[in-house]
């Protein structure tokens, strides 16, 4: 498989789309951190925390990996070059793994392309605290494993669908739909348990009384547990959590979910790819 990895990484190095993503993420990282610092200075007259805005890339990495993987793997089918690998005697599992590893590495490079410039600017501007550091490291690790889950799912689609355009549409649309679902789940989970009912006199508008009323939209019991599970389980849900920067989030559990998704997608992908007829 080392020969396939060497060929795939050489191809990655020559991929224009990959370098475009890297540059885009770096510029995005610098822009977000500098703009956040400027607005914090302007309106709050203090520096923002280092971790703030540092994980906002989690929101875009799903879309980027979907686009990148569908192009990278799809080219193997559209140019027919996957045949060269099979004809020469490489096993299907090796071909699948090589693509998966290369795409995963590309996804991680894209994460680093955001993080490194953002941290390079953020540390001198915002400073660093021990509490910050521990949180940032666990957040980064969680986002990396989440990226692996995204790439594994997209590789599964890319390796099984022999049409590049269909792969791109399916992966990007799926990420979109999952994001909408995750944002909805997150919104439902963040609904307050109660809301304030205000009674006012109609003529002069003066408030006479307020009281807490239970929110009928607040999720309770098993329904809340299911929503919480989906929020932490889905890679798009994790993206929302990481982007929001919730310090109390179970990063370890989320990473375990992502690792499970990545492993399951790889297993299913290899099983199905071995039986697939290649044209």
């Amino acid at each position: 498989m080392s020969r396939l990895l060497s060929a795939d990484f050489a191809k990655l190095k020559k991929s224009r789309f990959f370098w475009l993503c890297i540059i885009g993420m770096a510029v995005f990282g610098l822009y977000m951190k500098i703009m956040e610092y400027i607005s914090a200075q302007q309106y709050l007259s203090r520096s923002p925390a280092l971790h703030s805005m540092l994980s906002i890339y989690a929101m875009v990495i799903g879309f980027l990996t979907a686009a990148f993987v569908s192009l990278f793997v799809g080219t193997e089918y559209s140019d027919g070059t996957i045949r060269n690998k099979l004809i020469i005697g490489h096993s299907r599992a090796a071909i699948y793994f090589s693509n998966l590893i290369t795409c995963s590495a590309a996804g991680l490079f894209m994460c680093l392309a955001y993080l490194l410039p953002a941290a390079a600017v953020g540390i001198p501007l915002c400073g660093i605290e021990t509490a910050d550091f521990r949180y940032i490291v666990s957040m980064f690790l969680c986002s990396f494993v989440m990226t692996l889950a995204f790439t594994s799912l997209c590789t599964l689609v890319g390796m099984l669908c022999q049409n590049k355009a269909v792969t791109a549409v399916v992966t990007i649309l799926s990420v979109c739909l999952l994001f909408v679902a995750s944002i909805y789940i997150s919104a439902r989970l963040n609904e307050p348990e109660t809301y304030q009912e205000v009674t006012a006199l109609a003529e002069d508008g003066s408030v006479t009384s307020t009281r807490d009323v239970p929110n009928p939209g607040y999720l309770r019991g098993t329904q809340r547990q299911i929503y919480e599970f989906l929020d932490e389980f889905l890679p798009t849900g994790q993206s929302v959590i990481l982007t929001r920067g919730d310090q109390g989030s179970p990063f370890l559990l989320m990473s375990a979910y992502s690792a499970g998704i990545a492993a399951a997608a790889a297993g299913i992908g290899i099983f199905l790819f071995r039986k697939r007829d290649i044209k």
């Binding site: 396939l4 050489a10 027919g80 005697g89």
Partner: protein
């Protein structure tokens, strides 16, 4: 005869469509094997099976002595190259980068041979031009160069002259002959352009509806296609007796018809037959081409 590739009772079914049906083939070492069949006959399906792109539904094939179910088949595949349908090349890369990529896939330690390989296929002056800007002929030649990386001794070409202009066809033919003669590479060339194939092939296999109809050498085909007089008589035994007496070569293929492979004096033959009570019903001069041989073999009404 030593065979590089053989297949027995090979079948491939796609849902309700049987693309290959009890197919057999024997490709001799050092030959240029012309694999002839109309569109949809099963040529590409067979090539896909040999290349490991698909698995047969039943039956087996043997490549360099290794059966398709043996683990050793992957080792045998390293000795072959193939261009299946369209050339498998990265369109966003130059010819040299494409070859470097293939060298990495094969695991060749050095790129030193690449300029020679590019020269062999006539692409040494393409420089930084990307493959997407190549002509169809150039893409085909790059596809062959990629298939040649790793020095295979068996090359499968699926419709190699499809879409090429006359000059491209000539160049492709010369390249195939050069590789066959100078490097002793065995070729399996699928095509339905029979005229072109007849200039190259040393052996033929005719496929129809997923089944091998006939396999024969170019010499046997020449014999079958040579100039002759087809004669229809009332008594075939009398005809054979008379032809034997006259020491003339012939071939009987029905109760009343035979082909005579010589310039005969028609009057003498007719008189000789008449003396023994045999009537000549018809006499026609014929010369069969590969095309007419193929049409007769597959069935005129069915052939495209």
């Amino acid at each position: 005869m030593e065979y590089i590739l053989t297949a027995e009772s090979l079948s491939k079914q796609y849902r309700h469509f049987k693309a290959l049906d009890s197919f057999s083939i024997h490709v001799p070492k050092g030959s240029i094997y012309g694999f002839v069949g109309k569109n949809g006959a099963g040529k590409t399906t067979f090539i896909r099976l040999i290349c490991g792109l698909q698995e047969p539904t039943s039956g087996s094939y043997t490549l360099y002595g290794a059966k398709n179910t043996d683990p050793g088949i992957t080792k045998s595949r390293r000795r072959m190259g193939a261009v299946v349908e369209t050339p498998s090349i990265y369109l966003d890369m130059t010819a040299e980068d494409n070859l470097k990529e293939q060298y990495r896939i094969i695991g060749l330690p050095s790129f030193d041979d690449i300029p020679e390989l590019l020269r062999l296929v006539g692409l040494e002056n393409t420089g930084k031009k990307k493959a997407k800007n190549f002509s169809l002929g150039m893409k085909q030649r790059l596809g062959i160069a990629i298939a040649l990386a790793g020095s295979p001794d068996f090359l499968i070409l699926d419709e190699p002259v499809n879409g090429l202009d006359p000059q491209g066809i000539i160049e492709m033919r010369e390249l195939i002959l050069k590789l066959n003669q100078e490097r002793q590479i065995t070729f399996l060339i699928s095509s339905h352009i029979l005229d072109e194939l007849s200039r190259l092939a040393t052996h033929y296999g005719f496929i129809d509806s997923g089944h091998m109809v006939k396999e024969l050498s170019a010499r046997e085909l020449d014999a079958a296609c040579r100039k002759c007089i087809r004669v229809q008589v009332s008594d075939i035994q009398t005809l054979t007796r008379v032809l034997d007496e006259m020491d003339i070569e012939y071939n009987i293929f029905s109760d009343t018809m035979a082909d005579i492979f010589a310039r005969v004096n028609v009057s003498s033959l007719t008189l000789a037959l008449a003396e023994q009570g045999c009537d000549v019903i018809s006499l026609t001069e014929r010369e069969e081409s590969l095309e007419s041989f193929y049409v007769n073999l597959i069935g005129g009404g069915k052939a495209s």
